[in-house]
Point group: C2
Chain length 275, copies 2
């Protein structure tokens, strides 16, 4: 049985737990991505952000029968080529990865961003995540990056995936907006950044150079290290400069996502919040 919703789009009913699409959703919501690399997201806020983002193409939406009225206007905005599937509430709970499912989920294809457009620019403000392990921290950095004018984020090897479900949730949908790249090795990345005229700034809690006195105007890439260990020395050694956040004696550091966000704020402040 097919029904039409507000935008004239068909909603397909699925009631069998063994339906292949539901298997794809269940697996992808647990892992964060499908085999072809589409992101799987839950909840109206993330679906809304995916529909809003230019670089994101919603491919498939799944709705719990009991949530259909509540999310009617959201469903009406799903673009025609995408499929909308309705399932009984109990089936939705089975495929959801969250403890309190909100009744809507989507598969989203994210178009790759252009590295040079994000990095080789006079106002480049790039975060390089060097080994962060906590997906919540990385997602929070993506959110702060998009909010505070970052032009891109690059994850180095041994860093948690920004498309991990926890990271996507912590990003509050910013993962669909901020250009994100992965780089295996630091040296070729740093060479490319230097060729583009980008200064490399290490966030280093032990640096005597204090943040507010550092000039963060002009193109910069900020290196953020692993939560406990900080930046690997061989990576910190490649930076053009290091900065530290002035911290009260007796305290070692702030949270890694907090540090990244404070550096982004200071850079944005120096640039006059010109975004």
């Amino acid at each position: 049985m097919n029904k039409r919703h507000g935008a004239g789009q068909r909603i397909r009913q699925i009631t069998s737990a063994t339906n292949p699409l539901l298997k794809v959703f269940r697996h992808a919501l647990a892992e964060g991505t499908t085999r072809e690399g589409w992101l799987a997201v839950e909840g109206p806020h993330l679906v809304e952000e995916a529909l809003r983002a230019e670089r994101a193409a919603v491919q498939s939406v799944i709705i719990a029968a009991g949530a259909r009225t509540e999310f009617r206007s959201l469903l009406a905005r799903v673009p025609p080529p995408a499929e909308v599937v309705e399932v009984p509430d109990r089936l939705f709970r089975q495929i959801a990865a969250t403890e309190s499912p909100q009744g809507i989920a989507a598969l989203v294809e994210l178009q790759g961003a252009n590295f040079d457009d994000s990095v080789a620019r006079h106002d480049a403000l790039v975060i390089v995540a060097c080994g962060l392990q906590d997906p919540g921290n990385l997602g929070t950095i993506v959110r702060s990056g998009q909010a505070l004018g970052a032009t891109g984020l690059i994850t180095l090897e041994a860093t948690v995936s920004p498309f991990n479900p926890k990271a996507v949730r912590a990003s509050a949908g910013a993962v669909f907006h901020l250009p994100i790249f992965t780089a295996e090795k630091a040296r070729p990345l740093f060479r490319r950044l230097h060729e583009a005229g980008v200064r490399i700034v290490a966030a280093d809690r032990h640096s005597p150079s204090k943040l507010p006195e550092a000039d963060l105007r002009g193109p910069v890439a900020i290196l953020i290290g692993q939560e406990a260990a900080g930046l690997p020395p061989e990576i910190a050694a490649e930076a053009d400069m290091a900065v530290s956040i002035p911290i009260r004696p007796g305290m070692d550091s702030v949270n890694a996502a907090t540090a990244a966000s404070i550096l982004l704020y200071e850079a944005a402040r120096q640039r006059g919040f010109n975004y």
Copy 2:
């Protein structure tokens, strides 16, 4: 059998899972506190911070047999009235609340701080947590507060406990250093703050008053609202001023702990990091 360790202190061996002290530890590590309000913490970093903090009195330490050599110097610093108990590794895993127990835990009595000493001062920088729900966020704020010169933190009703185990872990031990208070109702608290000459500043993402232009010198209390909903209007209405972090168009907000940390950083910057 009793053994003496480095500092000449007795280490009591417990091998029975039904021992009452182990029951107290197991319950307290899951809940965060014992019935008498002592904090239960796991891992060498938090035990170290508790030993270091003036306001914290370590009452009891439990060590897994296999971790005793590794944490010898830490055990040697446990003050004499406190009890040190060694248990077989398998028993330690049973009482631990973390997935990868590190072999050491402690019960810690935290002495109450004096409200007027923390708040009625010319350099007061207080965070008022108004309804935050995520213990990780609240703990991160405690950590940033201690790192960036806050003189205290106050939680209003309907805010998650700062002594929740996740909050304590996110605080990285700052919970033992930063004076923390709870206030049931906003109005009597705000009256007390005003009597002490403290200005009340609402972090409000919709405020036209931009953070870097706001004067955060002098005694201030910064109100941080709930993650999704922000500050309740009736609380925001009581503030002397509101400020917002300038955010890129299309983005709604940054994470609540990030916002608090950026406000603390800006206040610290304006005060010349005078701590």
